[in-house]
């Protein structure tokens, strides 16, 4: 939060906000789980090293070839060596794959969200502060982005890009390009209401140009609504990544991602249910954590909306 004397909209009671967030049980639970997941994702090589495993070594000896390659032992071959068992068919260590998968899932979701917010805020503020023509043109563009069947289009987009391109970065960009409409619409609406405030008029009269007005007067006022919205689209970006990898157009097989593991799990789930439960459970837990963070933020920053939109 910025210094109160510079950011005048509703005086950003940064301390009250922080105080209320720290007392919100849902937010705290969500934030701690999310934090653990981020730390695990960042420290994946260290953690895998500590377990003495890596995500790409095949262990054929751990598989029951008579049953088509199902892990030997109970619960998908969980043992002191392989903490979460091994992958059916290949015998790769599941713990290592799951924590490396967290890097892809979280990395793609977070970068896509950042890109969406940047794009959306820039277009939204430009539409809100620009003249009538700029506003009309940009609003039509936003309508188009919102009307596009994003899942269908991202499947087509990802399928035609050469396989040599870095997949995770590509996924983040595709998800972001098809999903910035909501942020833009919210930013435009807030900008339109903020620009009529007296302090913005005062800044104009004092000789601030449009850039300065946007940066110093509008952006601080956008922080709360955009932040709450961004927290809500982060989990849906994560679902998008998982879905695309599930369909086989996302992350390519040697790189693990939770969605892609669930996609292979569809052929194994009868023989080895743990291969569904472990990546699926982690995906659910992480998504739930981010949703809890989002609802907590909304309760504190935007109490009027929280009942209907959650």
């Amino acid at each position: 939060m910025t210094n109160p004397s510079v950011a005048p909209p509703v005086p950003p009671r940064a301390r009250t906000v922080r105080h209320r967030l720290l007392r919100d049980r849902g937010f705290l639970t969500g934030a701690s789980i999310a934090l653990v997941m981020v730390v695990v994702a960042l420290g994946a090589p260290v953690l895998a090293g500590a377990a003495g495993q890596d995500p790409s070594t095949y262990h054929d000896t751990l598989l029951d070839s008579a049953r088509g390659g199902v892990p030997i032992g109970s619960l998908g071959g969980i043992s002191g060596e392989h903490w979460l068992g091994v992958e059916p068919g290949t015998g790769r260590d599941l713990f290592a794959r799951v924590i490396y998968g967290a890097r892809v899932s979280l990395g793609v979701a977070i970068s896509a969200t950042v890109l969406q917010v940047l794009l959306g805020v820039v277009v939204g503020v430009a539409a809100g502060l620009g003249g009538r023509i700029a506003d009309a043109a940009l609003s039509r563009l936003v309508d188009l982005v919102l009307a596009v069947p994003s899942l269908v289009l991202s499947i087509s987009l990802l399928a035609i890009v050469p396989t040599s391109w870095p997949r995770p970065a590509l996924l983040a960009v595709v998800i972001a390009i098809l999903g910035w409409g909501g942020t833009a619409r919210i930013s435009r609406g807030e900008t339109l209401s903020l620009r009529t405030r007296d302090y913005v008029a005062a800044a104009r009269v004092a000789g601030s140009g449009p850039w300065r007005v946007a940066r110093r007067e509008i952006l601080p006022g956008l922080a709360a609504p955009v932040l709450t919205y961004a927290a809500l689209i982060l989990p849906s970006n994560m679902i998008a990544e998982a879905g695309l990898s599930f369909l086989g157009v996302g992350v390519r097989p040697p790189t693990p991602s939770w969605g892609q593991m669930l996609s292979t799990a569809t052929t194994w789930f009868r023989a080895d249910p743990m291969y569904v439960i472990i990546p699926g459970g982690l995906l659910f837990l992480t998504l739930l954590a981010f949703v809890l963070v989002a609802t907590g933020l909304r309760r504190v920053l935007d109490p009027r909306q929280s009942e209907v939109l959650l």
Partner: protein, 329 residues
């Protein structure tokens, strides 16, 4: 009103046109040449040229796009060897892969996706409104907590994960249901429904929670309004107040959402259909994308875009019809 309709339709057509341009442009930036893929192994240059001409790929990209639009509105003719093949409007061309008309392929697959979407939507509405009403009347505290938990979970589970878990529980452990395989409604309605039960449930788990939340908010809001207080003061039975006033107030936002969600389910059916192996439009798309079957991909994208645009327009109109306070401009 007429002016609004005209503008609305014009806007929708523009959006669809934009969509068609984007999809078309994308595929011409693609590194793979569909003619080479169709021609197959041992393709001579002469045959390649023939294939190219038959597919209409020998024209410039803008000319191809123009012909595509013409075909959509008025139909078009394709050279097919010595004869000419006429493709009636709305012509989406012929599949590069199977040489069938794309319109026929879509018409073939649409009933599956529609069965999936309509059934799931009905199930979600019944479960969501029921749970939301009971929870809004504060009859059962536990239901309140359950709805809250489900709403949170609904935001946090991808549909294919719900699907996998349902299959695991009902088909593998309990063995109550067979693995879903699509049976047309006209062949055997009971088999149709029992096979679609799991896909419907998977979609409804996520959707119903959102409806429950909305219904509850609506019921609580309406019950706090002055006209309800007045009705109670006049001694109108509580049951009637709930059915006539509270529920009606709560349903207005749901009616508009239903149209939009139906379209959304159709477009996200790619995942559900792949998950459950249902031969719908989504599965058609996944197959077509892997084989760079341009006409099919363009067809599916335009169809889903069309559904979304129509649903949005319908939602606005219905909203204005049931809520006289809304003014269409």
């Amino acid at each position: 009103m007429t002016g609004y309709l005209v503008r609305r339709v014009a806007g929708a057509v523009l959006v669809l046109l934009g969509l068609a341009v984007i999809v078309y442009a994308l595929f011409y930036l693609a590194p793979q040449d569909p003619a080479i893929l169709t021609c197959g192994k041992g393709c001579t240059p002469e045959r390649l040229a023939d294939v190219r001409a038959a597919m209409g790929l020998d024209e410039s990209v803008p000319a191809q796009f123009q012909h595509f639009l013409q075909g959509l509105v008025a139909g078009r003719d394709y050279p097919a060897g010595p004869r000419v093949r006429h493709c009636p409007a709305p012509c989406l061309g012929y599949s590069f892969e199977t040489d069938q008309p794309v319109t026929a392929l879509l018409a073939d697959r649409l009933p599956v996706s529609a069965s999936l979407a309509v059934g799931a939507e009905i199930l979600s509405l019944i479960a969501g409104i029921g749970a939301g009403l009971l929870s809004g009347l504060r009859r059962f505290r536990i239901l309140d907590a359950l709805v809250n938990a489900l709403v949170l979970a609904g935001y946090a589970v991808p549909v294919f994960l719900v699907g996998l878990l349902l299959l695991l529980v009902f088909c593998v452990y309990l063995r109550w249901l067979p693995f879903p395989a699509y049976v047309p409604l006209t062949t055997d309605p009971v088999a149709w429904a029992s096979n679609l039960l799991l896909p419907w449930t998977a979609l409804a788990v996520i959707q119903a929670a959102a409806y429950a939340r909305l219904t509850r908010a609506g019921v609580q809001e309406t019950l706090a309004e002055d006209h309800v207080r007045t009705a109670r003061a006049f001694g109108i039975p509580e049951r009637r107040i709930i059915w006539r006033r509270a529920l009606r107030g709560a349903l207005v936002p749901l009616v508009t959402l239903t149209a939009i969600d139906l379209a959304a389910i159709m477009t996200s059916a790619v995942l559900t259909e792949t998950m459950f192996g249902l031969p719908g439009v989504g599965q058609l798309l996944v197959g077509a994308v892997n084989q760079i079957d341009l006409p099919v991909v363009v067809g599916v994208t335009l169809l889903t875009g069309f559904l979304i645009v129509v649903a949005n327009a319908a939602a606005d109109l219905v909203y204005a019809a049931i809520d006289p306070r809304v003014q269409l401009r």
